[in-house]
């Protein structure tokens, strides 16, 4: 009984405490760079597409809202022929970003994704791809990977020896 009264008193005191509400459309909240909002595809420091179409984001996605198809440039770079995110299914969980081995897919603090027509929520690669590197300005997957592409021969990636001379007779 006493605890009931104390509860009533405690609640009553809240009449005079500040409210927490942020007046959203007039007053934009601060969102950290790591906030999980609209998904983008970024480019590496050389300005090339970072996505290598490895499909890890798609398989990590718990609502299966990412679909893509791998293709390849003449120079050997893998990239997605199409890359589609169905934002009407996306739950902004960020698993795709965590799964991405190249920092290509990133979530941004933009969460205002409302549309009147659901088809407008389906984003293709041209809607997703931005011109910058996003949160990771320096990383370039192809400079770490062992696969050779145009402009990066075998043995010229980070921490690599020059290619082995198979015909060498030296011990």
């Amino acid at each position: 009984m006493l605890s009931q009264l104390r509860t009533i008193w405690t609640i009553l005191k809240h009449t005079f405490s500040r409210n927490e509400t942020v007046q959203y459309p007039e007053e934009m909240p601060y969102l950290a760079p790591r906030y999980r909002g609209r998904i983008i595809l970024t480019r590496d420091p050389d300005g090339e597409e970072r996505c290598v179409a490895c499909n890890l984001c798609a398989v990590a996605c718990p609502v299966d809202c990412i679909a893509l198809q791998k293709t390849e440039t003449d120079g050997g770079r893998w990239y997605p022929e199409f890359f589609r995110i169905n934002f009407s299914r996306c739950i902004m969980c960020g698993m795709c970003e965590e799964a991405c081995p190249t920092y290509a897919i990133q979530l941004t603090p933009d969460f205002e994704l409302c549309e009147y027509d659901r088809p407008n929520m389906v984003y293709e690669k041209e809607h997703l791809l931005i011109d910058g590197p996003g949160k990771y300005p320096d990383y370039s997957f192809w400079h770490v990977a062992g696969k050779a592409i145009t402009g990066k021969d075998k043995g010229t990636a980070e921490n690599e020896k020059p290619p082995v001379q198979v015909r060498s007779l030296l011990p």
Binding site: V52, A53, C54, N55, L56, A58, V59, C61, V63, D64, C65, I66, A67, L68, Q69, K70, T71, E72, W78, R84, I85, N86, S88, R89, P101, T102, R118, P119, M121, V122, E124, F141, V144, A145, G146, K147, A148, K154, G155, N159, E160, K161, P162, P163, V164, Q165, V166, R167, S168, P171
Partner: protein, 891 residues
């Protein structure tokens, strides 16, 4: 049986086996790399370390390599002992020192044995900070990518390629940590079984090039158990689809047919499903060169009108399923139905049926050929006709190794020991074919002659078997006869590719003679197409008879058959021109379809469920993988009949005496697993379901319910514990790669847990009285040659020739001539030659193995038309011909 104790539990294992195989047979998770069930043990990778204890008191034990340790009764080992676990983790860490940061851009990623083993041993981060070793890659042809950086030096590739498949142009080069697995220089890998490197390599050094172009991870593929459509071997395959395209084909283990390996034609040629020449709409000809698209209903009405016209012939096809052929036969009536093979081939098939029916016990399975101690390859080259059969024959040549090993007390799985002891010893393999074959390198003796001469040779062999030669008699015939008579499993292989019934007659004589001599021979006859052994069971018209009736004005329905590939083109054109209305049901735009009045699009093997019969008489089901794109496409049996389900067609077909027992071919649509679920076509990790079609409609379509098979078009269901015929892909927890197969086997290299797929049908003697006497070939006059068809591994098969990678691998149309004849004709090597109604110019190649007076012409390659045996053809030199660059180094 032997009892061993692994980590405190007793297991019954086969005596004399190695410990690794024994442990895997009991589905233990023991990492390994260099060992392969078909390649034996060499102990190269040190990954399968376990601790073996001396006796019950021993607590320390010692590390041994499981693959190199024979099982002994009462032995006690531990897979989980800390020092074994630690050792294996150490090995992985060394292997990963130089492994590139490639997984996202590696075709093996997600189904990589190295990934699996790394995870299994618990290695997560590279402690070594030194630089990574790198290699330059090589161009290896249209089938394979090479990425040497990823190599872990397990030697599986060269052991498979050189020791198992008999290739010569892939080797282990260099020394110490510079080991390089490749060719001396860039170039196409010559061996036609090179594609298996994709599955043999435990990591991503050799990957599937056509698949890589439109790559999809294994977890995203929708797969079903299927049967290769490349030849009559009927190899089991996993066919996999994504976004409406057939993406790739992997080997599906079948104990009696393909074991662990496929040929390149099957592996890379099966994607003809994606051809640009696919027909997707029904059409009716309104003008000479113009078809008008019609609805399914209108098209069906056309078909009904034709069927009711009273005068219609139906031409079936050896590349269509039993159900499709049966539906056509039922519609037009048995008397109006032709199986669609040309008369020579049909006659040879009848001879095979007669022979099989007479000696049913002698019909071998393909893997049984591997156990032969004496083999005779007779009549045609299995490397071209049914390549997987040739690979089995190659293994037979090694059988003497195992005999010697057993005598020397070396376990047969001790690969290096067996080979080292046997050196170059080979079991007797005799080859009698028109031209040198890819097996000649392991043959004891060969004889190459024109088919008619081979027939004579065969009869001589039969005679010698009947009256055995003296021990000191020399010569090809005497050697064969003596060895066959002395053999435990005398084995003879023939085929229809020679297009010479006399060859088959002679082959039958050899088998009969062996049986009369009290031997128990094995035999196998191959043919060119997937369902030759099925469709020939339908009696009816000959193709010639059907074409004659067409020429006289009958209507015709042609099922998945390009007649120009069967008969002399002029004859086919005349028949098509003379016929009333011609209706063609096909998946592709063929020359025949282009000449038709009505064209109906039908599904391919990947888009419907169908039954085919292979050269051992085994009926097998190829299950639908995905739903065909295009609203008007449907299976031919749906066009042609009112059956509701494929099982109904099968039952109706099984009611025919020739198909007794066919119902048992595989579980029916109502089959469910132990937990009452379907078998899923998609993996449980299948991704992108809510985005894949979102660009068309954001409303995800309802998953189709498959009423024809026990499979689901989704990830729902259970891919474990089902019948052996219903395995859509292999996967097991911790084993993402194809190595997870052992979890589906009763024992490694043995039967599938759910039983072997397919059912072997009996054979009945053919009704026709085939005339098998040697055709009366006259020696042609000067300036003329007898033309003999010579099928090729790549390019002669109709369906695989629709695939770009296969076309790239095709040799140009080639004519093989004896140098003497060539001189007389004024032709020299790499000239161009043609004859009056040939469709193209052939590249001349000279070989003294060609019997004078004969010319062998490659079939199909570059022309898409039949080459039939013809006497006295005048060859014309094409002076404008420039020989194509010789891209493929041929052995």
């Amino acid at each position: 049986m032997t009892t061993i104790n692994i980590d405190g539990s007793d297991y019954e294992v086969a005596a004399g086996e190695n410990l690794l195989k024994a442990a895997l047979s009991h589905h233990q998770d023991l990492p390994y790399f260099c060992w392969h069930p078909s390649l034996g043990s060499v102990g190269a990778c040190r990954q399968c370390a376990v601790v073996q204890y001396q006796n019950p008191e021993d607590t320390r034990g010692r590390l041994v390599m499981a693959c190199m340790t024979p099982v002994v009764d009462g032995m006690r080992v531990s897979v989980k002992a800390p020092n074994a676990v630690g050792f294996r983790a150490g090995v992985i860490e060394w292997l990963m020192e130089n492994h590139p940061h490639d997984c996202p851009v590696c075709e093996e990623g997600g189904e990589c044995h190295l990934q699996d083993m790394t995870v299994m041993t618990g290695h997560t981060s590279r402690r070594y900070r030194g630089q990574k070793r790198t290699f330059e890659n090589q161009y290896l042809g249209p089938f394979l990518n090479h990425e040497m950086n990823r190599c872990i030096t397990c030697y599986r590739c060269v052991r498979y390629y050189r020791d198992y498949a008999g290739g010569t142009d892939l080797q282990a080069l260099g020394s110490r940590d510079r080991m390089y697995f490749g060719r001396f220089e860039d170039g196409v890998l010559d061996n036609i079984f090179a594609g298996n490197l994709v599955e043999v390599c435990p990591t991503g050094v050799f990957t599937d090039k056509p698949f890589s172009r439109t790559y999809t991870r294994k977890w995203d593929l929708q797969s079903a158990p299927s049967v290769c459509q490349g030849c009559s071997a009927g190899c089991n395959i996993f066919a996999s689809e994504r976004y409406g395209k057939l993406k790739r084909v992997h080997n599906r283990y079948h104990k009696d047919i393909n074991g662990y390996f496929l040929c390149d034609r099957g592996r890379f040629g099966s994607s003809f499903v994606n051809s640009d020449l696919r027909l997707r709409q029904a059409g009716v000809r309104i003008e000479a060169d113009l078809f008008q698209q019609v609805s399914i209903e209108a098209a069906t009405q056309h078909l009904r009108d034709l069927a009711d016209s009273g005068d219609v012939v139906g031409i079936g096809s050896p590349r269509a399923s039993l159900e499709d052929n049966f539906a056509l036969m039922s519609l037009v009536g048995e008397a109006n139905f032709s199986c669609g093979m040309n008369d020579v081939e049909a006659a040879m098939m009848d001879q095979i049926f007669d022979l099989y029916a007479k000696t049913p016990d002698a019909v071998a399975t393909i893997t049984a050929l591997e156990r032969a101690d004496v083999t005779l390859v007779f009549g045609d080259d299995p490397m071209n006709a049914a390549p997987r059969v040739a690979l089995a024959i190659r293994q037979a040549a090694r059988n003497v190794h195992f005999d010697m090993a057993v005598q020397a007390g070396v376990p047969t799985w001790q690969d290096a020991g067996v080979r080292g002891h046997a050196q170059h010893a080979l079991s007797p393999l005799y080859i009698a074919t028109p031209l040198p074959t890819g097996l000649d390198d392991v043959a004891r003796q060969t004889s190459h002659a024109a088919p008619a001469d081979l027939a004579v040779l065969g009869l001589q062999i039969a005679d010698q078997i009947a009256s055995p030669p003296s021990d000191d008699a020399e010569g090809f015939v005497a050697n064969i006869a003596r060895d066959l008579l002395a053999a435990q499993h005398p084995t003879c292989v023939c085929g229809t590719a020679s297009a010479e019934p006399a060859v088959m007659q002679a082959f039958a004589a050899i088998i009969t003679a062996l049986i009369k001599a009290g031997r128990k021979p094995q035999m196998l006859c191959t043919s060119a197409e997937v369902n030759s052994f099925g469709v020939r069971r339908f009696a009816g018209l000959s193709l010639q008879g059907a074409l004659d009736r067409m020429q006289q004005g009958s209507n015709a329905m042609v099922l998945q058959n390009d007649l120009y590939r069967r008969e002399i083109p002029a004859m086919v054109s005349a028949a098509l021109a003379g016929a009333g209305r011609v209706l063609v049901l096909d998946s592709f735009e063929t020359a025949t379809a282009n000449a038709a009045d009505i064209v109906l699009p039908v599904t391919t093997y990947a888009e419907h469920t169908g039954t085919v019969v292979n050269c051992e008489g085994r009926a097998q089901r190829a299950y639908q993988v995905f739903e065909a794109e295009g609203q008007d496409i449907q299976p031919a049996w749906r066009w042609l009949s009112d059956f509701e389900h494929i099982d109904d067609v099968l039952h109706a077909c099984a009611a025919l005496p020739a198909f007794e027992g066919l119902e048992a071919v595989s579980p029916e649509a109502g089959y469910r697993t132990a937990t009452n679920s379907r078998v899923p076509r998609a993996t449980h990790r299948f991704s992108g379901r809510t985005a894949a079609t979102a660009h068309v409609s954001v409303h995800e379509p309802k998953t189709s319910v498959d009423t024809d098979t026990p499979f689901s078009f989704s990830m729902e269901g259970e891919n474990t514990g089902q019948a052996g015929a219903l395995i859509p892909y292999v996967w097991s927890p911790g084993w993402n790669s194809n190595q997870s197969l052992f979890k589906f086997q009763q024992e490694v290299g043995g039967s599938l847990t759910g039983g072997e797929p397919g059912v072997r049908l009996g054979f009945a003697p053919s009704k026709s009285s085939a005339d098998g006497s040697a055709s009366s070939r006259t020696k042609p006059a000067t300036g003329e040659v007898n033309l003999i068809p010579h099928p090729q591994t790549f390019g002669s098969d109709e369906l695989s020739s629709l695939v770009g990678a296969i076309v790239e691998r095709c040799a140009p149309p080639t004519l093989w001539l004896n140098p003497d004849d060539a001189r007389a004709l004024g032709l020299s090597s790499r000239d161009g030659a043609t004859w009056p109604d040939a469709k193209t110019t052939y590249l001349v190649q000279l070989s003294d193995q060609v019997t004078p007076g004969n010319a062998l012409a490659s079939v199909g390659v570059g022309t898409g038309q039949s080459v039939l045996p013809r006497d006295a053809v005048t060859l014309i030199k094409d002076s404008a011909f420039t020989p194509p660059p010789d891209l493929i180094a041929r052995g």
